[in-house]
């Protein structure tokens, strides 16, 4: 808080009050305290464990994970004011906010390698420089598509962050420890809705089946190893993506068994050759970035 900022306290009188007794003693109805509220750590963007600069490999890795989280947060933010019920405006907004927090920590850390800020990375890179996997940039579709994408994303992220908590890189371990609890909630949300939609009405089941079918081609990319991650795995910094597949499949199989769904097979089953970590993207990322970056790019160098 800057010193010249005036107090915006608008309470009508200075009745006695404490956090335990917000109504105060002098007024039977209580006075409300509208004291200054400090920004939650999450909103202020205090990066977890940020002490040392990332190496080139760690920065590349953190950038990929940060872009996954940022792009998915940007997608989910679009549901606000459009969700099927108010509780979902709150829930999807909350998930978007968590993911944005992960993105900020990861991009901040990636930027320590070459002195770029989280905003330099988010707003001033072009599409081929983004490293997110294709799953995260896929459009929201209907609510079933969003839930299918959330189910895959959060199940993968739960396994990833659990493993990353044990990273020999202290910053990645600290970011993962915080994110782990949050993506666990995201997964629970996605599972609950998968069960409701698959086991609800004929229409919701039809939509859920289609959504699973159209989401599945993007699953394999999440578990593909590359040279950078192979080097990091040797040093105990990051898990090999391929090593997360078994637990991912086990969780999905369990959810699908209860929901009476199946992983797509036969004619409808195919895999896209997702190359997000190499900067190749589907047609959907460009418009998303154009919208996200437009204002920042009109005023380069400005502070907000």
């Amino acid at each position: 808080m800057s010193a010249e900022t005036p107090d915006l306290d608008t309470r009508p009188s200075a009745a006695t009050r404490s956090p335990e007794d917000p109504h105060g003693e002098t007024d039977p109805h209580g006075d409300v305290t509208v004291d200054r509220v400090a920004l939650a750590e999450e909103l202020a963007g205090e990066a977890a464990g940020a002490g040392h600069a990332a190496s080139a490999d760690v920065a590349a890795y953190a950038l990929g994970l940060g872009d996954d989280a940022l792009v998915l947060a940007q997608r989910l933010g679009d549901w606000i004011t459009r969700a099927p019920e108010l509780e979902e405006d709150v829930a999807l907004g909350n998930i978007a906010l968590d993911l944005l927090g992960h993105a900020r920590s990861l991009l901040h850390y990636a930027g320590t390698y070459d002195g770029r800020s989280e905003d330099d990375l988010a707003y001033f890179r072009d599409e081929p420089e983004f490293r997110n996997a294709w799953l995260f940039e896929q459009p929201n579709g209907d609510f079933a598509h969003t839930i299918a994408r959330q189910l895959v994303a959060s199940t993968y992220l739960v396994e990833l962050y659990r493993r990353l908590e044990g990273s020999t890189d202290a910053t990645l371990a600290a970011i993962a420890a915080k994110a782990s609890k949050e993506v666990d909630y995201h997964r629970d949300h996605a599972i609950q809705w998968t069960l409701r939609l698959a086991g609800g009405t004929d229409e919701s089941r039809r939509r859920m089946l289609r959504a699973v079918e159209q989401t599945w081609p993007y699953v394999d990319e999440l578990f593909r190893d590359d040279e950078v991650v192979a080097r990091l795995a040797e040093e105990g910094i990051a898990p090999l993506p391929s090593s997360l597949r078994e637990t991912f499949d086990a969780v999905i199989d369990q959810v699908f068994a209860e929901a009476e769904l199946a992983r797509p097979e036969g004619r409808t089953a195919f895999t896209v050759d997702g190359r997000g970590r190499e900067g190749k993207h589907t047609e959907h990322l460009g418009p998303l970035l154009a919208e996200m970056q437009v204002l920042a790019r009109v005023h380069p160098g400005a502070s907000w």
Binding site: E4, T5, L8, T10, R11, P12, P22, H23, P28, H29, G30, V32, T33, V34, R36, V37, L39, L43, G45, Q74, G77, D78, I80, T81, R82, P84, E85, L86, E88, D89, V90, G93, N94, A96, L97, L100, A103, R104, L107, E118, D119, A122, Y123, D142, F143, L195, R196, L197, G199, G200, T201, E203, S204, E291, V294, L295, A296, H299, A302, W304
Partner: protein, 323 residues
């Protein structure tokens, strides 16, 4: 001999006397207490309008979530719009304690039969509008709402305590957005002043018509729902804005705004109530757009709500047959 009908009259009189007593003692009425029909109706109208305002009020701000110019601002704006959805939920719950269902209130809103604060029918063409809404609109809302924390109806007052705390955080964020813009480039300063010019008068109109033209005020004050008159609150708000505008370096767009020592109040230009009535009558810049968005979300989400209800019904049946 006392006939049953007489008993009812006697009971009603006793209930009315208890209610009058509670009001006279400035105490709280709770959902299970007897209350006059008119009191109940007034509260349902006021609380549901307030809930609708929170829900519709998400739209002008959500317009900038995708384009917020820094990740920190994006996070704050997301959190703010999410808070507003939460406020709508607490307020619908408070209204439900008076015997109206949420679905009914939502229908009234999307069919255009319920009101919400007309301030949200203005548009947000620039980022600076996020600052002006926080500083002016949330600022005016706080002036209106802090006294409501002491409203005689318990669930309403308690919902307002929680809401006011979050609103004050929103106002601070709005102020900081404007401060950052005013300390920035020429283009940013122009953006900030332009937004203040557009939101200043509509925010003063949020306090409602002048006291001598406010038909429902007297009864609401007698019931301890309303505590201060519209004009008193408007004065208090302007008194709060003037020093803050100086810190920001913005000009409040009223050449006649000046402290009047004799009246111990601010002199100001006449408010253009024609505009207020136009917007209130549904002819504001975005009335149709706001309702269309709400209606679409509600209608397009119907299959999801039906699925959740059907799933819950099947689960309950399963549990029954298992028991």
């Amino acid at each position: 001999m006392t006939a049953p009908a007489d008993l009812t009259v006697v009971e009603n009189e006793a209930a009315q006397a208890r209610f009058d007593d509670l009001i006279a003692q400035d105490s709280r009425i709770e959902p299970r207490d007897w209350m006059p029909d008119a009191y109940r109706k007034t509260l349902i109208r006021q609380i549901s309008q307030h809930a609708h305002s929170e829900i519709i009020g998400m739209q002008p701000e959500s317009n900038w979530i995708s384009r917020a110019p820094s990740l920190k601002r994006k996070a704050i704006l997301l959190a703010k719009v999410q808070d507003e959805a939460g406020h709508g939920l607490y307020l619908y719950s408070a209204a439900q304690t008076l015997g109206i269902g949420r679905e009914e209130m939502m229908q009234q809103l999307i069919e255009g039969r319920a009101r919400y604060s007309s301030i949200f029918n203005y548009t947000t063409p620039t980022w600076a509008d996020m600052g002006a809404i926080g500083w002016l609109v949330d600022g005016a809302a706080i002036c209106n709402q802090v006294p409501l924390c002491r409203a005689s109806y318990g669930p309403y007052g308690r919902a307002m305590v929680r809401i006011c705390k979050e609103e004050s955080f929103h106002q601070r964020q709005g102020f900081e957005i404007l401060l950052e813009l005013m300390q920035g480039t020429e283009a940013q300063r122009e953006m900030a002043q332009d937004a203040v010019n557009r939101w200043y008068w509509p925010s003063l109109m949020m306090f409602g018509p002048p006291d001598d033209e406010s038909p429902n005020s007297a009864q609401s004050m007698a019931w301890n729902i309303k505590r201060f008159s519209n004009d008193d609150l408007r004065q208090r708000f302007v008194g709060m804005l003037v020093p803050q505008a100086e810190v920001l370096g913005v000009t409040l767009p009223d050449p006649n705004l000046a402290w009047n020592e004799e009246r111990q109040a601010y002199d100001m230009s006449e408010i253009d109530w024609t505009e207020f009535h136009e917007v209130l009558a549904g002819r504001g810049p975005a009335n149709a757009e706001r309702l269309r968005r709400r209606r679409e979300a509600h209608e397009e989400g119907a299959w999801v709500r039906e699925a959740a209800a059907e799933y819950a019904r099947k689960q309950a049946l399963k549990q029954q047959s298992a028991a």
